[in-house]
């Protein structure tokens, strides 16, 4: 089978340069595995930039973490001084020496004691080095700072020849070595050591910008392998050196399609998925006093109510202040703090440089392992670094948080009222969702309008909502869109009132008409009644004349009969008059 022909795993082809991990946070990522195994590496930089520390950390971590004993040849500091200096980092050099894991040798060359009387070589150094390496089986060697020899001995040609021999000897010995060198005026090192050590050169730098110092590291060259070529900020703290890759080189982070609500139901309704994606970054930007912190606190509160852990980085207010202020809008953060779900990390931005902040944030996150992180506000960081510095820091922070699947809420203060399509830090392109709170000024009143500028991966409402902060918390209200445009605040209230008034008037008018109709009907009915009675009276009148006529006739007839009787009238005539009378009576 053809596949059996290659016993080497594909990750490690035969020709690939073997590397020795340094164990220094971040450095192994930049160098893609560490320093070249069995070859010398030059670490150069100006005074106080951390050369010695980096090399001692290489030795100590090698001994502790990788079980590779190391030899440290110090030309500048005595072994005891060195042990004291790094004790603050938690490295116990004396104990490691006793365990035969490391060996420290102090080589001192003092010009005032020395008289050069002819040719010599540095065989003594070789012998000591050899002895030290062999006595503990060292795999790592540090020479710090070998250039001190140049100040003690004057014969340059001998020294150079011997150094060349030394580096060759180290290679033959197969130890991974770090040689430190002081930065020169035009060259990387004062004595041009880079001529001899050409496999890997790391340059350390210490710059002060705006009174805040930043250490940087750059891999100047690394023969036979790819490496990060940027300048990477690094810092030295109680855990040693931490190098922070500016950006992770790949974009292959896992993503989650879980969603979490914001704590403002109306806001969730504006998003088609009913919330934001877990592990996404949300930027809340707005002008001063638009409620950015309140919004962030609301996210926080909701997360804690779900039982998630939340870490709040406050760069503006103290935790007590935030808790007090949020209580006024009905958000009780104190109980979350008591439960240990919420933790504040407050510091003034000017406390230390951006890198230090970033590392502090990294550390706090690694220790607390939160599900959500709030950084409030990122704008304050601008006071301690340039815009591009802040941006690069935020890129790395977002990068790191996405890797850890931690949702993050940034708040940013936008200073310019007109141009707010971009935040000052230009992070809007980095974040997954962007909420913009904008002041809407109308009728001498300032109201807050909330826009969802973007929300990756979900449909979202394009409408402006009025962002209302009340005693009961935060809410979003649909703004009134009338013929005069958008109405907010009291104008909206007035409009609502006006509509209510109109309604009342309308009902009143309708009622009035109904009553009018009723009255008309009554009038009509009464008229009908009167006409009827008029008709009756007329009829009665008419009847009356008829009856009167009949009576009159009757009476006349009777009178006539009476008269005729009186005159002795015939029988026949009496009968006919009687019948006629009867008829008329009927």
């Amino acid at each position: 089978m053809p596949s059996k022909k290659a016993p080497f795993p594909p990750k490690q082809p035969m020709h690939q340069l073997p590397k020795t991990p340094t164990g220094i946070t971040g450095l192994d990522e930049i160098t893609m595995g560490g320093l070249p195994t069995g070859r010398p590496t030059l670490v150069c930089g100006s005074a106080g930039c951390g050369k010695t520390l980096m090399s001692i950390e290489f030795i100590v971590r090698g001994a502790i973490e990788f079980n590779e004993p190391g030899v440290f040849i110090a030309f500048e500091e005595k072994a005891e001084e060195l042990a004291t200096n790094v004790a603050s980092l938690g490295f116990d050099l004396n104990e490691l020496q006793q365990q035969k894991k490391i060996k420290i040798d102090y080589i001192h060359v003092d010009r005032s004691e020395i008289e050069e009387t002819g040719e010599y070589d540095l065989e003594g150094l070789f012998i000591r080095l050899n002895y030290a390496i062999d006595s503990i089986g060292a795999k790592r060697v540090v020479l710090d700072t070998i250039e001190s020899l140049f100040s003690g001995l004057t014969n340059q040609s001998i020294l150079r020849a011997e150094l060349r021999r030394l580096f060759q000897w180290l290679k033959n010995k197969g130890v991974t070595a770090i040689i430190t060198g002081e930065r020169g005026e035009k060259t990387l090192t004062r004595q041009g050591l880079e001529e001899y050590v050409s496999d890997c050169v790391i340059l350390l730098d210490h710059r002060i910008i705006n009174q805040i110092s930043t250490r940087r590291l750059r891999v100047v060259k690394y023969r036979g392998t790819t490496h990060g070529t940027n300048e990477y900020p690094f810092l030295i703290d109680e855990d040693g050196i931490s190098v922070l890759p500016v950006t992770s080189l790949k974009l292959d982070k896992p993503v989650s399609s879980d969603r979490f609500p914001s704590g403002i139901p109306a806001l969730d309704k504006m998003l088609s998925k009913g919330g934001f994606f877990r592990g996404s970054s949300i930027l809340v930007s707005g002008t001063a006093g638009t409620g950015k912190t309140s919004m962030a606190a609301s996210f926080c509160n909701e997360a804690c109510l779900r039982g998630e852990k939340c870490l709040f980085f406050a760069f503006e207010e103290s935790p007590a202040q935030i808790i007090r202020n949020m209580r006024s809008i009905g958000i009780d953060l104190q109980k979350h703090v008591d439960k240990g779900l919420l933790k504040f990390y407050a510091s003034r931005p000017t406390l230390h440089g951006l890198e230090m902040h970033l590392v502090a944030i990294h550390k706090a996150i690694k220790n607390f392992k939160p599900d959500m992180v709030v950084v409030d506000p990122i704008t304050n960081l601008i006071t301690i670094g340039s815009v591009s510095d802040v941006k690069s820091m935020l890129v790395r922070l977002i990068d790191f948080l996405q890797e850890e699947q931690i949702s993050v809420i940034f708040t940013a203060l936008t200073l310019n009222l007109v141009v707010n399509e971009q935040t000052d830090e230009g992070v809007s392109s980095l974040v997954d969702a962007w909420l913009l709170i904008r002041d809407i000024e109308l009728n001498g009143e300032r109201n807050r309008g909330l826009y969802i500028m973007k929300s990756r991966g979900m449909k979202h409402s394009n409408q402006v909502r009025e962002f209302v902060i009340s005693d009961d918390g935060l809410d979003l209200i649909d703004v009134y869109i009338g013929p005069d445009g958008i109405l907010t605040g009291s104008a909206r209230e007035a409009q609502v009132l006006m509509e209510e008034t109109g309604q009342v008037l309308h009902t009143h008018a309708v009622d009035f008409k109904d009553r009018e109709l009723l009255r008309k009907r009554k009038v009509l009915e009464s008229r009908i009644e009167s006409l009827k009675s008029e008709f009756e009276s007329t009829e009665a009148e008419l009847n009356k004349t008829y009856i009167e006529d009949a009576i009159k006739k009757d009476v006349l007839q009777q009178n006539r009969e009476k008269l005729s009787n009186l005159r002795g009238k015939s029988f026949y005539d009496i009968d006919t008059t009687k019948s006629k009378n009867k008829k008329s009576k009927k």
């Binding site: 008289e115 050069e116 009387t117 002819g118 070589d121 065989e123 003594g124």
Partner: protein
């Protein structure tokens, strides 16, 4: 031998015994030259007033550490004080003498 009771003895230093240690590496050319040159100089200027110990660092690497040896050959003048180190093959006689405090 001078009289110890003399009130002024300008030659005390000269009378003191020199404690010298020469560190060499086997029979390397520089080491051999250093041994030869040193012998000549010492015989000439400090005859009978010195104790020279020649140490092969290859044989005793631990001494290299305790004596803080880097450049070789090296002659360490332990006494009289101050301690001086003379590096090289001792071919420059003036410098050797100055290093030993004889000039």
């Amino acid at each position: 031998m001078t009289n110890k009771d003399d009130a002024i003895d300008w030659d005390t230093d000269n009378e003191q015994t020199y404690e010298l240690r020469l560190f060499v590496t086997g029979t390397s050319p520089a080491s051999v030259r250093a041994i030869n040159n040193l012998h000549v100089i010492l015989e000439q200027h400090l005859k009978g007033r010195y104790e020279l110990e020649i140490i092969d660092v290859y044989q005793q690497p631990l001494l290299a550490k305790s004596e803080d040896i880097s450049a070789i050959p090296v002659l360490i003048k332990k006494a009289p004080r101050p301690v001086r180190r003379l590096v090289g093959d001792m071919s420059d006689e003036n410098k050797v003498l100055r290093g030993l405090g004889l000039l």
